[in-house]
């Protein structure tokens, strides 16, 4: 696709702008910012990726993945209602998910140890993990807030913090992972996944594209469940002290 052709696609940005203006939706500014940001960010990433792929050096791959993790941590911390000290918990979760998935993929030689595979898959894994992290944190903090009396009841009857928070933790883990599982049930029927569509458009064999997409889908299942569970078990101890007392103040939203 040439830059001239790309400029024609701006029609798809103009349509929501016109509609927003007509129906007084007030979305013009955000739409413009989103369009400009995606152009700049994606072009920049395109050039950076080209450099990393050409260099064939592992250090650049690691740096690129680290950059993704830092950006995901920053975004999840900003968007999700928070728990005291959540930044490092998010960071550790994303690092562990990345290490786990790449260890399986590279260790079992499912994908070759090449930049285009590692970076592309890492982007999908970390991105999915970030969304899951936000979903989990929002639900978990809401559950803890609304069920404070239940937490206090269990503590007062001689329960441990883990027992006192168990129901809220499980509810939040389930609620955050269900969208991933449910969307996979209708995949191919309702929507064609982005990566698969991209490969097909680029001229790849559709069956090969499907096989790769299946790999990603299975990977995202692991990512979803592992992210929520890890984040949950890293987060809940922050809500209690060593005397097993509930620390409501640690539920406060962090300044972004």
């Amino acid at each position: 696709m040439s830059y001239v052709t790309l400029s024609l696609t701006l029609i798809f940005v103009l349509i929501p702008l016109v509609l927003s203006k007509t129906f007084k939706l007030g979305l013009e500014k955000d739409t413009l910012i989103a369009a400009v940001r995606s152009i700049i960010q994606l072009l920049a990433v395109g050039y950076v990726l080209q450099f990393v792929f050409d260099s064939k050096q592992m250090i650049y791959i690691v740096l690129m993945v680290l950059l993704m993790i830092v950006a995901a941590t920053h975004n999840a911390r900003k968007k999700g209602t928070s728990i005291k000290g959540i930044t490092w918990k998010l960071f550790v979760t994303f690092v562990c998910i990345e290490v786990l998935t790449q260890a399986i993929l590279l260790g079992l030689r499912i994908t070759p140890p090449e930049a285009q595979y590692i970076i592309s898959i890492s982007g999908m894994v970390i991105g999915n993990s970030m969304v899951l992290g936000i979903l989990f944190l929002n639900r978990f903090t809401a559950e803890v807030e609304t069920n404070q009396k239940q937490t206090e009841l269990i503590l007062s009857l001689g329960g441990t913090p883990k027992q006192a928070i168990h129901t809220q933790l499980i509810t939040a883990i389930k609620a955050s992972t269900i969208p991933t599982i449910e969307s996979q049930k209708t995949i191919g029927l309702v929507q064609l996944p982005g990566m698969m569509s991209g490969q097909i458009i680029a001229g790849a064999d559709p069956v090969q594209a499907v096989l790769f997409q299946l790999l990603i889908l299975f990977l995202l299942l692991t990512t979803a469940v592992t992210t929520s569970i890890m984040l949950g078990y890293l987060s809940y101890p922050t809500l209690f002290n060593e005397r097993m007392q509930f620390l409501k103040e640690n539920l406060a939203v962090e300044e972004s």
Binding site: I154, L155, S156, L157, G158, G159
Partner: protein, 240 residues
């Protein structure tokens, strides 16, 4: 003190610079019913949370059976000093599930006979076991809440305004139940109440708290003739 169920020495509690409890010193006698009265915001419920270990005093010492509160494992302390709250919070599920919670938390199972016996103590028949806890009336919930606390066989039972939202009949039933628990099991009772008549008729002793301070203590009839000027106004209903 030898016959103390609970002893407080210069207990302070503050949050964000706000002094909620100020220099509380006093003894709760073992095996007796002590009522805790005072206007809203006096710090009564906070004092309970300190005694049950749900919060820790900013300074001062609390002794349970002559042992510093901090020397108990939190779970052990909370089983020793049970607490029942006004809201009588229930977990979703049956009465059986709710009454068994203290044992479930210890990884044990409660036999149906034991659950039925506990319900009988609090005046509920065993037909309640399979009912959903959310379907119970206010009085029944309070009874179940007390029965659930009794599962841990606490030596001291803290009751936080457990009758304030109940009708007169349910209120009297709960009063009888508490006296029965105190007499049959020798459980020390500390009862927060806004009802001064109840404090005098049920309590052996009374603590009057105001603005985070313990202003007067003694046998419950002190409420008939308090010596502190603020307590006099409170008893007359001039301070709420």
């Amino acid at each position: 003190m030898k016959d103390a169920a609970l002893e407080l020495k210069h207990v302070h509690f503050s949050v964000n610079g706000l002094h909620i409890l100020k220099d509380i010193t006093g003894v709760i006698p073992k095996g007796k019913i002590t009522t805790l009265v005072g206007p809203s915001g006096a710090g009564k419920s906070t004092l309970f949370k300190l005694c049950n270990g749900l919060q820790t005093a900013s300074s001062g010492d609390i002794y349970i059976k002559n042992k510093r509160i901090g020397s108990y494992e939190p779970t052990e302390l909370r089983r020793l000093v049970g607490i029942a709250l006004q809201e009588a919070t229930m977990l979703s599920g049956s009465v059986m599930k709710n009454i068994a919670v203290p044992l479930t938390l210890q990884g044990k199972q409660m036999e149906k006979e034991e659950a039925a016996h506990l319900l009988e103590i609090v005046g509920l028949d065993q037909g309640f076991l399979n009912r959903d806890a959310s379907d119970l009336s206010g009085g029944q919930r309070q009874r179940l809440s007390i029965a659930r606390t009794l599962v841990n066989r606490p030596q001291t039972l803290l009751l936080d305004e457990i009758t304030s939202s109940l009708d007169k009949v349910s209120q009297q039933d709960i009063e009888k139940l508490i006296v029965k628990i105190n007499q049959e099991f020798g459980t020390t009772i500390i009862w927060i109440t806004h009802n001064l008549e109840q404090a005098m008729s049920i309590g052996d002793y009374t603590w009057v708290m105001m603005d985070g301070e313990l202003v007067e203590t003694g046998p419950s009839d002190l409420l008939n003739n308090p010596s502190d000027a603020r307590v006099k106004r409170f008893v007359k209903g001039e301070i709420e």
